[in-house]
């Protein structure tokens, strides 16, 4: 991989030769100009930003601050819940980044002084930055459900940040008896991993099948009226799990209740694990409440989040499409789940509704764009034209997977969704015949290859 872009060198070289004051040694000095980049958060996006800044310009000092010594991938963690995968296959440390010259500090950021460009940590460190990458992921509000609060998450796991929570939910599933009810409560969007709740429902039903629990049910209480890859999920559920139609009290193993028809949970009786909406009460044996999301704490504490507006504005970080720099601070780049991006009204496209999903894959794409922009800025080069690609696999049964792809470019300074390079796996073949099983098998296999490569591309 070539550090710095060739074309930019051409431009720089052209500029250099046009001035007698600049010569090759000057050019080399310009390239080795020291700059300090600090990255907050060592998830997929933060790790990728740190690695790619170093790859593109090794002379830049890069420090990554992350409290945990081991990262656990959220993607494919539903396979751990259902017992298909060991959690160790989702885990990675930070030695790969250290080997690349990234200074990894296990500490918690307590504050960012944006005027002085200093990051302060719980351990007493004060780190000066020229560019800051803000990648704190998500936090939960725990609001909107009366009777529910953070203290309950050991009994009512969210399993929406992978690790201990994933194993807690797995343990509860494995203790279930036939005839038991597994309830997933889905918050109003945006939330990370848009197809995640439905993938989880599929794999829990798959677990029931493999363990002779034919009378058990998964009920999805959804605050939303539609969801990611809905057609593909419904088709798979019909084929694999006896799905008939939307709503409660259907014959299939999976029941999906949309917000408008009683899915919007507003109350919890924790003792009996009963959730209620305006229409119904549903009693669970295993209760999985996914809390409402907001950008990670430090993003809000640094005044980088929207304070009003709709669900996509309030609590999330708006960014500049060309660079991923915060709309509120040109020295801070917000990547990963904490930002809101894509072709949508927030970015001046009144009729568009193609927000970028909160996925590991697009978080890494954002991080690479930010890394390219930072390195260009440090070296006084033009910002490269960005591209944002997403791929997201869902595993819904044995040898049964499918995906969605998204592609975005930046046109006239604003995000543009590219439908030609986007879309979900086919529901039917072009002649309307059913999709041959090989397609679903291939995507189930690709999901594992994807996981290993994204983990390595970010952390190794």
């Amino acid at each position: 991989m070539n550090p710095i872009h060739r074309r930019d060198f051409i431009k720089l070289f052209a500029a250099a030769t046009s001035s007698a004051a600049l010569s090759l040694p000057t050019l080399a000095r310009a390239g080795s100009a020291k700059a300090r980049v600090v990255v907050i958060g060592g998830g997929y996006a933060g790790a990728t930003a740190a690695k790619y800044v170093k790859l593109l310009d090794p002379s830049i000092d890069v420090t990554l601050i992350e409290p945990n010594k081991t990262y656990t991938s959220c993607p494919l963690s539903n396979e751990v819940v259902a017992g298909h995968r060991k959690i160790e296959t989702l885990q990675v440390g930070y030695d790969g980044l250290r080997k690349r010259g990234v200074n990894v500090v296990h500490d918690l950021v307590t504050g960012v002084d944006r005027d002085k460009k200093v990051v302060a940590t719980k351990g007493g460190k004060k780190l000066q930055y020229d560019a800051l990458v803000m990648s704190p992921g998500i936090d939960f509000t725990y609001q909107g459900i009366e009777g529910y609060n953070e203290s309950m998450i050991n009994d009512i796991p969210h399993a929406w940040k992978a690790g201990e929570q994933t194993l807690l939910l797995q343990k509860q599933l494995m203790a279930m008896k036939d005839g038991g009810v597994f309830v997933i409560v889905v918050p109003k969007g945006p939330f990370r991993c848009p197809p995640g709740p439905y993938e989880r429902a599929s794999l829990v039903a798959n677990y029931f099948q493999h363990h002779g629990m034919k009378k058990s049910k998964v009920i999805i209480m959804d605050a939303n009226d539609s969801h990611s890859k809905k057609g593909l999920f419904n088709q798979a559920w019909a084929k694999l799990y006896g799905w008939e139609k939307e709503g409660l009290n259907t014959n299939g193993m999976i029941e999906w209740v949309k917000g408008a028809e009683g899915g919007n949970v507003t109350k919890l009786d924790a003792k009996s694990k009963t959730v209620s909406s305006d229409f119904v009460d549903v009693k669970a044996d295993v209760l999985n409440i996914i809390p409402t999301h907001k950008a990670g704490r430090i993003a809000a504490a640094s005044d980088l989040v929207g304070t009003g507006g709709n669900n996509f504005e309030k609590g999330w970080c708006k960014v500049e499409p060309m660079t991923m720099a915060s709309a509120l601070d040109p020295s801070i780049y917000v990547v990963g789940d904490a930002c809101v991006a894509g072709e949508m009204p927030l970015y001046g496209n009144p009729n568009a509704a193609f927000d970028m999903p909160k996925s590991a894959h697009i978080g890494m794409a954002q991080a690479k764009v930010a890394a390219g922009a930072i390195v260009a800025k440090v070296n006084g080069l033009p910002v490269p034209d960005p591209i944002y690609a997403n791929t997201c696999y869902s595993i819904v049964g044995d040898d049964y997977g499918f995906s969605v792809a998204h592609l975005y470019r930046v046109v006239n300074g604003t995000f543009k969704y590219i439908p030609e390079g986007s879309g979900v796996s086919p529901m039917t073949m072009p002649d309307k015949s059913p999709v041959p099983p090989i397609y679903r098998k291939l995507e189930a296999e690709y999901a594992d290859g994807w996981l290993r490569n994204v983990l390595a591309d970010a952390f190794a």
Partner: protein
Amino acid sequence: MRLHCIALIATGVLTTLPASAADVETIARSCNNCHGTGGVSVGHSMPSIAGLSESYLKNIMMQWKSGERASANMTRLIKGYTDEEIAGLARHFSQQKWTPAVQQVSADVLKKGKAVTDACETCHGATGGQPDDADTPMLAGQWAKYMELELMKYRDENFKMTHKKMIKNARKLEAGDVEIAAQYYGAQSK
């Protein structure tokens, strides 16, 4: 970085570089997510693309784009890229070093693998490492799992593949030999 720059000037390549060279490197970084940093995959079901021939890479991407050849996912992604970008990506990844994945197999698999891949040698070379022409992909040290899945595609009449000779030969393999053939070539990490 300095060396790179000087090398470009010294060899006079600078003026003949295509104007889109920089953009291709930006786009190529987005391929890394699935195909590995620099196109060297560590995921068993995903192919390494660094060091495959330019002609092979360009052809396969253009076939996916036109719909001539099926793929479970690349047919969707690739339609968002211009022909020029595809050509640039093919050139970019072909210029990277082929990095075989180290995969060990038993002596038995090697022996059986050699026997069942006779027909493959004609085009892919003795150990899958000396392809006949630029349109034939390198197999030696490619991920075995990926090659097994590719063979599965060639063998499935419901999956639209393009190369008649390859389709014919893949379907001649005994079902039990598919995995062995893939493992045999995967283990040839020269």
